[in-house]
Structure formats: structure tokens, C-alpha cells
């Protein structure tokens, strides 16, 4: 009888947890499902068809998006910006975080807190100074200008995350590498970076998401449509007073795909990174 009571409690606890997690998952997945659902509808049916699954599937929206003159250019631009910014952030942040964690140099704490303080400045608040700076460097309307700004935006959080990781990392392997003749950069490359893979995975996904979804800074720094990111195309599907929702949803579905795939590919490492962060703290 006692065992049954224990089992009943275990089952009910498990059920409650799963129910709660199911509800959370539902609130996350439902908007994505609704986006997908609307992307298969027409402008007329999107307002009238109340069914969960569309009564008729209309693929014209995807064709319209994919045949949109500049969609391909915008998509490629976003791939270029995301790959460049993320790789720059991973390299710079890991070097900086490793230095802050392992090296001793004057003003170490001051510089570290400066980076952390930069996280407090909201991006819109820095738009005008950023534009003025990039303009002075003659980098307005260039890819490199935008990449530099976006790299700067993601550095603070990445340095903080990686420094925490390196602080908790065992130094034995580094000592062994040093005995084998590795220099500081060698240890960073051969020991610290491979061990920091879970934290790097978190940084990659966070920053990739940030760059992929960004468009206001792009609108500020870029003029040439050939340089604009994908979000610009999504904005073009919206009129001043009216929106072609199904086409917009089809565009959003296509735009969300790469990030979803990236997340799925790195999911294992991301979970590890989060749980490491939790226990390390």
C-alpha cells in the first residue's frame, strides 16, 4: 500500500511537471505553427478561415517570396553577416575572456567591467554615436562597417559568458600543455577553446539569432539595397497601412528556417553550456 502511495505521488509529480513543460512548449511552438499555417493561406482566407489546419493549401506565397527579385540577395547578405559577425565574436571574445581569466595585467578589472558595463547600454541608444563613428571611419554603406558594429554589440555578453567558463576550468590541462612547450596562444587554441565548446555553442546561437534578426542598425548604416539583410525583405512585405500577411508569414517561415536548423544542429552543446553555466555559478 505504501509503495502504491509512493508510486502514485511519483506519477502525479511526473504528470504535473510534464503538463507544465508541455504548456510552456505549447506557448513557444504555437506562434511558429500559426506562422506556418498562415503562410499556406490567401489574403482572403487568412481573415475568414478559422480552422487550425487550412482547408486549402496555397503554395503561391512561398513562390512569390522566392521569386521576389531581391530576396536571394538579402538572404545571402544575412548569411554573410551572420557568419562573419559570429566568427569574429567567437575569436575576439574567447581571446579576451581567456586573457581576463588567466593573465595578469594592469587595469584588468577596469577593462573587464567596462565590457560588462557596455551591456547596460541599449542598442537604440547608441545608434547615433555609432553612425557618427562609422561615418568618420568612412565605412557607412559598407559591409565591413555593419559587421564591425554588430560584432561590437555581441562582444560584452560573450566575453562575460566565456570568462565565467574559463574561471571555473581546471588548470591541470593547461599546465600539461605548458610543459609540452605550448605558448599562451597555443594553450588557448589547443586546450581552452576545445574545452569551451558548450559555451561557444551558446555564444554562436545567441549571436547568430541576434544578427539574423537585426535590421534597424542595417537600415541606419547601409543605403545600397544590395547590402541589406534579409529582414529588409520582410519589411518590404508590409505596407504603410496594409500588410500582405500570408506572404509575410511565408517570408518569416523561410527566414526562420536557418536559425531553427542551426539550433537543432547545436542543441546538444547548448544544453550542456547552459547546465555548465548553472553548476559553475
Amino acid at each position: 500500500m505504501a509503495i502504491n502511495k509512493y508510486r502514485a505521488m511519483k506519477v502525479s509529480k511526473g504528470f504535473s511537471i510534464h503538463l507544465l513543460l508541455g504548456l510552456v512548449a505549447f506557448t513557444c511552438i504555437f506562434p511558429l505553427f500559426w506562422m506556418l499555417r498562415c503562410s499556406f493561406m490567401t489574403l482572403e482566407t487568412v481573415f475568414t478561415d478559422k480552422s487550425i489546419i487550412p482547408t486549402a493549401f496555397h503554395f503561391g506565397n512561398f513562390i512569390k517570396v522566392l521569386t521576389e527579385e531581391k530576396f536571394g540577395i538579402y538572404f545571402m547578405n544575412s548569411v554573410i553577416y551572420t557568419a562573419s559577425v559570429v566568427s569574429a565574436i567567437v575569436i575576439i571574445a574567447s581571446l579576451a575572456a581567456y586573457s581576463f581569466s588567466r593573465l595578469r595585467f594592469p587595469g584588468k578589472n577596469f577593462f573587464f567591467y567596462m565590457f560588462v558595463a557596455a551591456m547596460m547600454i541599449p542598442l537604440p541608444g547608441s545608434f547615433v554615436p555609432l553612425y557618427v563613428l562609422i561615418n568618420k571611419l568612412n565605412l557607412v554603406n559598407t559591409r565591413i562597417g555593419y559587421i564591425l558594429c554588430m560584432t561590437n554589440v555581441g562582444l560584452s555578453m560573450s566575453i562575460l559568458l566565456l570568462k565565467t567558463f574559463f574561471d571555473k576550468m581546471n588548470t591541470d590541462l593547461e599546465d600539461a600543455a605548458r610543459i609540452d612547450g605550448c605558448g599562451k596562444l597555443g594553450i588557448w587554441w589547443h586546450v581552452a577553446l576545445p574545452l569551451a565548446r558548450p559555451a561557444i555553442a551558446v555564444i554562436v546561437i545567441f549571436n547568430a539569432l541576434n544578427v539574423w534578426n537585426e535590421f534597424i542598425l542595417a537600415q541606419l548604416l547601409l543605403t545600397d539595397t544590395r547590402l541589406m539583410p534579409l529582414q529588409k525583405a520582410l519589411m518590404e512585405f508590409q505596407g504603410a497601412h496594409s500588410v500582405d500577411y500570408p506572404v509575410l508569414m511565408a517570408g518569416l517561415t523561410l527566414a526562420a528556417m536557418p536559425i531553427i536548423l542551426l539550433y537543432l544542429a547545436m542543441q546538444k552543446h547548448i544544453v550542456k553550456g547552459f547546465s555548465y553555466g548553472a553548476t559553475a555559478g
Binding site: Y131, T142, R143, T223
Partner: protein, 439 residues
């Protein structure tokens, strides 16, 4: 992980190569006019017109779109600081900010241009559209009097009615007076159709409707006197204004939940024939076309309560553009804007984008519904054109009080007393602020 890392590294390498080989520098060509705008729905039409202009005159006009509007405003602010503004641009802000741009030498004075050829350009445009870009002799901003912008289109807010639903309720013509309007909504209710829908969850729409009737009941002078604090909101004429909403609510003339409706939702309700009347702006032609291309509707001025005084509605310039005073292509920019606001180009823009043209002569060339909307531009007014505006907190309380009347929380008298008490308190605060400034 190794495989993913190598794929990512390869992608990064390609991306970085691409970045460095394709850096595009800012081009500055004095023989080219650059126009920056925020209007997604007008971009293609503007590009077509720019190509046509190049064919006719040889001058290339580059049209660049930056949207949404807040991103556009950020760009204009930033480029103004570095003195990198394009030849033609728009200022999407309060008149105070517009004035600041003028005073800082970013905007060209177009007054003389409008006066050329016996003021032909000025005469071709709706006066109300120009007024938004005009700074009067005694303007409070300290700007040299003149006209500083070019209206691209106009807009106004009226009552739209569904022809099919009115017919279903046995109504042969749209209502001409407020009483007829109430009768029409009763007839519609009898056949299961809701009366008036509007986005009265948004304060500006409720304020617009209320002030239309305030102008109709007591006239502009008395409304302005109220804003100056010389007439109380408890005045019988203001009670009449509040009573309009009480009557509309009491007689079931409004759709359920109107005070929490956003205009986007209200637009859906009308387009999908869930209500027979809508209080909405002229942009609705574009919206309704997208939602229900077969919708049959017409437009009327809000039916007056006082037939002896003309009905005033909110309206004026929809979108305006200005010329960069420091631009080396200033003359070319002005010439292009003059061409863009000529009859044929305005008709084309209106047909393609379903916005009301700023050029009066273009009305004969555009669809009937747009022409009907634009035909009453003489009836328009707008808070930006008034000499006095209500204090922000009082205006907000005024709108909230109307919402409370509609949901039955306040009577018109209670609402008037509440707004007046806020007005008194705010005036007292304003007086103290003034005294502190003088000290």
C-alpha cells in the same frame, strides 16, 4: 561537432572574403538626386516615376527606402548630425522637430518656388496639404515664415458605409444627419448587423471623432477658448458632445468592445462586413482592398448634429518631403518634386497606391472612392494647424472619459466634471511653472 565546425569555418572564410572584396563606398554624384523615404507601399510607384523622369529630363533620381518609420527617423537624425542628409527626405516628427531642422539649416525654404509662374504650383495643390508644411507669420517656433515642404498626398478621416449592408437593412441612402444615422443603426441592428466600428481603443481616433462634433456643435472659436481655459468642459455645448457617445452607446449604434479595439481590428471588422459603418481614414481604401476586394462601400462626412454649422474633419497632408538646403543638387531636387506633384504623376501615384493625391487636378483621373474622400478636403482641419492645443494630460483624460461613457461608467455630466477638474489642476500646475520660469 568537428564536421559542423569545419562547415562553419568554411562558411565564415567565404563570408569574410566576400566582405572584403565587395565593400561598397558611398557614392556622391552632383548630377543625381537622392530621395530617402519610408513608404513601403509607394516605393515601386516612386521608382517607376523616377525612371520616367530620367527618360524625360535626363536627371537620375535614386529612390531609397528605409522602413519602418522609426528606423527611418533614426537614420535621418543620425545623418543630420553628420551633415549627410540626401537631397530629398521627409521629417516624420512633430512640427517642433520640423522647425528645429529648418533652424539648423537642413531644410530649404520653398516659398519663392511656390510663387513662381503666378503661383501655379501652389494653386495646383490642396491648401490644407500645404498648411502642414507652412510656418505662419507669428509661428511660435521662431521659424522664418514660409512653406518648407512638398505634400505627396493627403488624407482625412470620415465615415465609411457598406452599401450592401445598408440595402439589406432597407436603407436607400446614407444618413445625412445624426438622427438619421441613429435610425440607420437601429434598422441595421434589426437585421442583425452592427452599426459603427472604429479603433476607439486608440485615443487619437476617439479624440478626432469627438472634436469633429465639438467643432460642429460650438464652432472652432469656442473649442479654442476651452483649450485656453476660458470655457469649462461643463459648458452645455461640451455636455452635448459627451452626450453623443452616451446616445450612440445607449441606442446600440456601436459594435461591442469598441473602446478596446485597435484600428487594425476595426478595419478587419468592416472589411469582413461585421459592421455597416466605420470611422476611419482614407488609407482604408488600400486596407479594405487587401482584405476584401469585393467590398462595396461609400464615404460620407460624419452626420452633423448641428446642421447650421459645417462639419469639420481631421485631415491634411499625408506624407510630405523636404529639400536639403545644403544639397548641391537642390534645384534639381525641387524640379523633381514639382514634377512629382503635377497632375499626371499624382494620378498615377494615386491609382497605384490608393492614396489621395495632393494635386487637386488629379481628382478627375482617380477611382471614385478616392475622389469622394479627397472631394471634402476643404472641410479638413488638424491639431497641428490650430493655434492652441489641449494640455496632454487633459486630452488624455478627455478621451478616457469618453471611453467611460461608452462602457457606462460615467454619465456625460460626470465625465465633463471629471475632465474639468483635471483641466483646473493642470492649469494651476502650468501657472506655477510659468511663475517659476519668470522668477
Amino acid at each position: 561537432m568537428k564536421k559542423i565546425a569545419s562547415i562553419l569555418s568554411f562558411l565564415c572564410l567565404i563570408a569574410l572574403c566576400f566582405v572584403f572584396v565587395s565593400c561598397s563606398q558611398q557614392e556622391k554624384d552632383p548630377d543625381r538626386v537622392v530621395l530617402w523615404h519610408w513608404m513601403n507601399d509607394r516605393h515601386e510607384a516612386l521608382e517607376t516615376l523616377a525612371a520616367r523622369y530620367q527618360k524625360e529630363t535626363g536627371v537620375k533620381v535614386k529612390i531609397d527606402l528605409f522602413s519602418p518609420p522609426h528606423a527611418y527617423t533614426q537614420r535621418i537624425t543620425a545623418t543630420a548630425q553628420t551633415r549627410d542628409l540626401p537631397d530629398i527626405f521627409g521629417i516624420l516628427d512633430k512640427k517642433e522637430i520640423f522647425a528645429a531642422y529648418i533652424k539648423n539649416g537642413f531644410v530649404a525654404d520653398l516659398t519663392e518656388e511656390y510663387k513662381k509662374d503666378n503661383a501655379a504650383w501652389e494653386k495646383s495643390l490642396f491648401t490644407k496639404a500645404l498648411d502642414v508644411n507652412r510656418f505662419a507669420e507669428d509661428n511660435i517656433y521662431g521659424v522664418k515664415p514660409g512653406v518648407y515642404g512638398v505634400p505627396l498626398d493627403v488624407t482625412n478621416i470620415q465615415i465609411i458605409y457598406n452599401k450592401r449592408l445598408l440595402k439589406k437593412a432597407g436603407i436607400s441612402r446614407p444618413p445625412e444627419t445624426f438622427d438619421e444615422f441613429l435610425e440607420a443603426t437601429k434598422a441595421l441592428n434589426r437585421v442583425g448587423v452592427a452599426g459603427l466600428v472604429s479603433g476607439w481603443g486608440e485615443m487619437w481616433l476617439i479624440e478626432s471623432f469627438a472634436l469633429n462634433y465639438a467643432f460642429n456643435i460650438m464652432g472652432e472659436e469656442k473649442v479654442m477658448a476651452t483649450f485656453r481655459g476660458q470655457v469649462p468642459y461643463t459648458d452645455p455645448d461640451w455636455i452635448k458632445v459627451f452626450e453623443i457617445f452616451d446616445t450612440l452607446s445607449e441606442q446600440g449604434a456601436l459594435v461591442d468592445g469598441i473602446v478596446i479595439k485597435q484600428n487594425k481590428i476595426a478595419e478587419q471588422d468592416f472589411a469582413l462586413e461585421r459592421a455597416a459603418f466605420a470611422f476611419n481614414g482614407s488609407w482604408c481604401v488600400n486596407v479594405y482592398h487587401g482584405m476584401n476586394a469585393d467590398l462595396e462601400y461609400g464615404v460620407i462626412l460624419p452626420p452633423p448634429v448641428n446642421p447650421d454649422r459645417p462639419m469639420k474633419i481631421w485631415g491634411g497632408s499625408g506624407s510630405s518631403l523636404v529639400v536639403n538646403k545644403a544639397s548641391p543638387s537642390k534645384d534639381k531636387a525641387i524640379a523633381f518634386l514639382r514634377w512629382l506633384t503635377a497632375k499626371d504623376q499624382q494620378a498615377y501615384l494615386s491609382q497605384e497606391t490608393k492614396n489621395l493625391p495632393a494635386n487637386k487636378d488629379a481628382l478627375s483621373e482617380i477611382p471614385q472612392i478616392l475622389s469622394d474622400f479627397a472631394g471634402v478636403m476643404d472641410h479638413t482641419t488638424h491639431p497641428t494647424l490650430w493655434k492652441y492645443n489641449e494640455l496632454a494630460k487633459v486630452a488624455s483624460e478627455f478621451n478616457k472619459a469618453i471611453q467611460s461613457i461608452i462602457v457606462g461608467d460615467l454619465t456625460p455630466q460626470e465625465a465633463a466634471a471629471k475632465v474639468q477638474s483635471i483641466k483646473m489642476a493642470e492649469m494651476e500646475k502650468e501657472k506655477r511653472r510659468q511663475q517659476r520660469r519668470e522668477r
